[in-house]
């Protein structure tokens, strides 16, 4: 199982995904500079990704608290919080782009 991550520079990366893990955790585990400030509590909006439109319909609908965070963090039509996307075999090949807000600036 894998996910395709497009980073801030537009480069594609293929990441090995683990069933039951959050997409945010997989991205973080690979060492990408994802902010994910609140650690997956759906409370900060800084793990935002843009989901490839072809995959959007395969995801569950965002809950109200996820929508709230997307509202406050300038989410677009295909934006989701990667901490709310849990890997299942159906999502094998999921393609997401890291949003600018989710990329940690170099110190």
């Amino acid at each position: 199982m894998r996910i395709i991550l497009v980073d801030g520079k537009g480069c594609e990366h293929e990441l090995e995904a683990v069933e039951g893990w959050r997409v945010m955790e997989i991205i973080r585990d690979y060492g990408f500079p994802i902010v994910a400030e609140c650690g997956g509590a759906c409370a900060c909006g800084t793990c935002q990704v843009e989901v490839d439109p072809e995959w959007a319909s395969k995801l569950h609908e965002p809950r109200e608290d996820e929508l709230d965070q997307l509202d406050q963090n300038y989410g677009g039509e295909w934006s989701r919080l990667s901490c709310q996307l849990i890997m299942t075999p159906e999502l094998d090949g999921l393609r997401v782009r890291l949003a600018d807000i989710a990329i940690r600036e170099a110190a």
Binding site: A43, E64, L67, D71, Q72, N73, G76, E77, I101, A107
Partner: protein
Amino acid sequence: MTQEAISTDVVIIGAGPCGLFAVFELGLLDMKCHLIDILDKPGGQCAELYPEKPIYDIPALPVVSGQELTERLMEQAAPFGPQYHYNEMVEELEKLEDGRFRVKTDGGLVFEAKVIVIAAGGGSFQPKKPPIPGIEAYEGKSVFYSVKRMENFRNKKVLISGGGDSALDWTINLQPVVQSMQLIHRRDGFRAAPDSVNKMHALVEEKKMQFHLGQITALHGDNGQLTGVTAKGNDGQDYEIECDTLLPFFGLTMKLGPIANWGLNLHENLIPVDTEKFQTSEPGIFAIGDINTYPGKLKLILSGFHEAALMAQAAFKYANPDAKVTFQYTTSSTSLQKKLGVA
């Protein structure tokens, strides 16, 4: 506006839980505190980010809301007569020749204190800026992140962006004074009081304002003066909105802010301290709570309380190098109980 300096024992920067509890610990040692906070209320993150969310890890309180915890801490600090200064951001901190510190806020307040306690959490709360290219050129001229005076918007063509309470409240409050009011939000759902949402819909029905679905992608204008914006609708189509004023309301985020300019050692936007005194690289300036770092640091309110207690002892000794500190318990010491107003 410059005022005469307020002279005090301690200035605490930040009125969150750690700053509030520091008032108590310093108060037991007869040190008077002034607290400065950028928010309009005490409680810091507890009050601003999660006033209603339950907290489960405060000793002896199996569950408490951020709001209630703040209220209880205020009550506990009250006997020591702390002075609160809200809506003020500390901009400057400098050491005076006599060893005291001078603090200046953006609102023109000046303090002189023997000891400084930085309890600023994640830094100062500042409005989240939407990532629209070139928005900086308009800020303060035709793009504003807060409403200081409603009168400034009289007869303006105002566009408000966002879907929370601030966006809805200002849409409703400004609508009677502006020339035209428009609201843009990415979806037809709001995280605002239902009453406000109903009022907004009623204004749209009465043709007193317009509501757009979408997200602003570009600003148009000259020399900082906005003439309109381009927005992308949820159907992917671009459209234009005419306006001369934009008010984005996307909530608050925390930035380290001016603390970075005070000459203190920093590590990844945190202030390193020792774990005996919780003192920064500058003697007499202490840092407690989420803003500090040391080996093993946990960002817990409970850790901040412990840090406040140890810091208070060190701060007292710093301010009174010749005084002898006798460690006492509130359960048995009548002198402490007198200070608390219970003996």
